[in-house]
Symmetry: C2
Subunit: 248 residues, 2 copies
DNA sequence: CTACAATCAAAACGAACGTTTGATCCAATC
DNA sequence: GATTGGATCAAACGTTCGTTTTGATTGTAG
């Protein structure tokens, strides 16, 4: 098959450009013409190689998420094997899940911060086809990590763990998506607070490393926070209002 | 002036419908025709009353954010007056900032969960006019609360506080935006875990209350988490690597 | 040489988009 | 009762969208 090289070049160039433009402007606001124009390929090339604009977006994510979620599953496998049946530590689980992702931000060949920002912004897109796609891509990973957290925190109600997993996903997504919005919302560049050397426009890989360094303690602190008091239960609930063990 | 009633009816009906549709489908994917159609007004009414689609979105947010951020500032004023010059507790600050917002979700006349979801989803939209608009609307509030946190946590580097404020905003935004996506990502309804009575489709006000109950402890835990170890500082940093005080 | 997948330029498609126009309505003003 | 001016209306404006088609050209594998 003459599928050797030119084809892959066009395909990957389209994917790279689409990844960047979808991140910069969002899915709806990015036109096929702007993609093919920036990629210097024919307008018909997208429909030829991918079939449609929706399928293009799916493929942009699939090529990254397939690798990412496989790494996440392998990381969890290794941890559980090393633990030999004992529950993992929450910090290990978070490191495997979020660390694997954040390390992609340091590696341009894996999409770098461009893909991370795209992912963070797209996770909140309301389009139906996007959400069903993510549901399928994430189902196995989320399930495995959810169960690992259940075992790691046996005294925490499982519903609470699911809520906090959701909070952690949000903190990470938003933090990543907003790394170039932060100064807009907060009115100042992060770097120039507290006397940090700020003038340097942080490189993407440096930014990813700094983000991971800051994010992981925050997530761990939130995950291990004391349980909320159940002030008003619609139905008198079973007594599970004990505090969360602080040692982890 | 014959500005009596029909005009305000049309204006507010447009705003209400736009709020809901922008939330459900996003800004770009919501057409003027779908808005005016659902609001049962003429297609030209939006441009007549607001000038453009962009101005409509801004007005949708302005009528809610003006009230919200005024409440936030007043809440902070009251706290600081009661403290009489002493630093506030972080839990008070978070309650004033996030509690004020989350209470909007319980009050349909203030937009309810519809507005909260819209807000959470729109905060990550890349469109320039949206980001500059939010920057202006939030500037004063963010600045005031940032300073309050600086005073409340004098031993924490200010840059770290800004990062964590960003993380908290993200956890909240995403948690709100995703309250109808949660079962997609996690593969299960939150309610039916841990033996909670789940069958009932949670009403929006009940959902808002439950969300606040779960979110606040998580945010506090994250905010007060131990400081990260500075593994690799580009410039050898002043010694501020001490643990965060646990009592708040 | 032949065959076939990949790429191209160009044009067109129908549909949907945000916006504008000019007429019409109607209550308030003089 | 005529006039004014804001509110509403039907209709059309010009543009852009995603997609498809046509026909020619390339480079490589059999």
């Amino acid at each position: 098959m003459p599928d050797s090289k030119a084809s892959n070049d066009t395909r990957e160039r389209i994917l790279d450009v689409a990844e960047r433009l979808f991140m910069q402007h969002g899915y709806e606001a990015t036109s096929m013409r702007s993609i093919t124009g920036a990629a210097e390929v024919n307008l018909a090339a997208v429909n030829y190689h991918f079939g449609s604009k929706e399928a293009l977006l799916r493929e942009v994510f699939r090529r990254r998420l397939a690798w990412l979620n496989q790494q996440r599953l392998q990381a969890l496998d290794r941890l559980e094997e090393a633990a030999g049946g004992a529950p993992l530590k929450p910090s290990q689980i978070l490191e495997a899940f979020f660390g694997t992702l954040l390390r992609m931000g340091e590696e341009p060949s894996l999409g770098g911060m461009t893909f991370l920002r795209l992912l963070g912004r797209t996770l909140t897109e309301p389009a139906e086809f996007i959400r069903t796609f993510f549901a399928g891509e994430y189902a196995e990973v989320i399930d495995r990590y959810k169960l690992a957290l259940f075992r790691a925190l046996p005294d925490v109600p499982q519903a609470e763990i699911v809520w906090r997993l959701h909070f952690m996903l949000g903190a990470m997504s938003y933090a990543i998506a907003g790394t170039d919005v932060l100064q807009v919302v907060t009115g100042c560049e992060v770097g120039d607070l507290a006397g940090e050397a700020a003038a340097e426009e942080l490189g993407d890989t440096a930014l990813a490393r700094r983000l991971a360094q800051r994010l992981m303690p925050f997530l761990l602190g939130g995950l291990r926070a004391p349980l909320p008091r159940f002030e008003e239960s619609p139905i008198t609930r079973a007594a599970s209002a004990g505090g969360l063990p602080t040692e982890v």
